[in-house]
């Protein structure tokens, strides 16, 4: 039984199986509300970053510190992970082939961890160069905005792990499916935020 209301999430819970449609819809709408609240948080961090761009106070500025190559590859990795998560949702929706669902989740997890590793390396290089957040208002703003996204990715990765365990324990039951859908929204949302970071922080930074 498919409820037309549910189609808007595009992922159609459980393909065409029975599921508590009302609960799924409430849960997913609720998660959208959470994401929008989170988006406000990021928007404000961006606004603060914008106002603090000039506040370098003699410390290393964006052009000197940002490694555009590294940021570019991070973008590619995260974008690909967004696609692989989409493939996992796709597999879940049509017949729920466990092999594909889990496989694509694992690929997404690996890509997410790769992203985190690269980002941690970037930060380590910056800190080694003396570009630490306590040097200037600009670096403070940078080290608030970008690591906040990073922390969200950490949360996303641990959520994937939890979901993998749940798939192993319960199979694809209703609650697992709803949570995979929410996690999907979260993961795609993080990619959207990263696009903004890549444009506003990195591309703008090296342009200056």
């Amino acid at each position: 039984m498919t409820d037309p209301q549910l189609r808007h999430v595009g992922l159609k819970v459980g393909g065409f199986e029975a599921i508590d449609v009302e609960e799924a819809e409430t849960g997913i709408f609720g998660f959208w509300v959470f994401l929008m609240s989170d988006a406000i948080l990021f928007a404000l961090l961006f606004a603060v970053y914008g106002t603090q761009l000039a506040a370098t106070a003699g410390a290393p500025g964006p052009a000197a510190e940002f490694k555009i190559d590294s940021a570019f590859w991070e973008t590619m990795v995260l974008l690909l992970s967004s696609f692989t998560y989409g493939m996992s949702s796709f597999a879940m929706k049509y017949g729920g082939q466990l092999r594909w669902v889990v496989g694509m989740l694992l690929v997404t997890l690996v890509l997410g961890l790769t992203f985190l590793g690269m980002e941690a390396n970037d930060f380590a290089v910056m800190i080694h160069d003396g570009a630490t957040p306590d040097r200037s208002g600009f670096l403070s703003a940078f080290f608030a905005l970008v690591p906040t996204h990073g922390l969200h990715v950490v949360a996303g990765c641990s959520w994937i792990v939890v979901m993998l365990v749940q798939v192993a324990a319960f199979g694809l039951d209703d609650r697992v499916k709803i949570n995979l859908l929410r996690l999907g929204l979260f993961w795609h949302f993080l990619d959207v935020i990263w696009i903004a970071i890549f444009s506003v922080v990195y591309l703008q930074g090296v342009m200056r």
């Binding site: 498919t2 808007h8 999430v9 928007a43 606004a47 914008g50 570019f72 959207v192 903004a196």
Partner: protein, 147 residues
């Protein structure tokens, strides 16, 4: 404004191509949505059609996102445009990509079924514009008056 970047016609052609891509992505949707009947199971052919369309949406979304990222990156990396122009283009391309991802990965569209989510997102956009715009105006004004 005659920097080392590409000529205006070439740029325009590029925007046109981008716009076309986006239009394609947004137009990919069911030819005719099957009537929503709660009890009827959709036929195998319908499922297969849905399946193809969904896969295509993900594929187009990924391709577009990739292309837009590469374009923005190339603009800056090979300095195809002067910084102010390039900055505007980068922000513009970023915005387009956000829209693409919302459409193709997060499945938000202008059809009736996504109304709740869409309205929520539009309201959030309004609040973001007010907060971010207001913050930037006020603080840049202060900076200009005090520095």
């Amino acid at each position: 404004m005659s920097g080392p970047g590409p000529s205006l016609p070439r740029r325009l052609a590029r925007y046109g191509a981008a716009a076309l891509w986006v239009a394609t992505a947004f137009s990919v949707r069911p030819a005719a949505a099957p009537p929503a009947r709660r009890t009827a199971r959709p036929s195998k052919a319908e499922i297969a059609a849905d399946r193809r369309r969904d896969l295509l949406t993900y594929g187009i979304g990924y391709g577009l996102a990739l292309a837009l990222t590469l374009l923005a990156f190339a603009l800056v990396y090979w300095r195809w445009a002067e910084p102010p122009v390039a900055l505007a283009l980068v922000f513009g391309l970023g915005l387009v990509q956000v829209l693409v991802q919302f459409r193709c990965f997060l499945h938000i569209d202008f059809k009736g079924q996504a109304r709740d989510d869409l309205l929520l997102i539009l309201f959030s956009t309004l609040i973001v514009l007010l907060m971010v715009g207001g913050t930037l105006v006020v603080l840049f004004n202060l900076r200009a008056r005090m520095m």
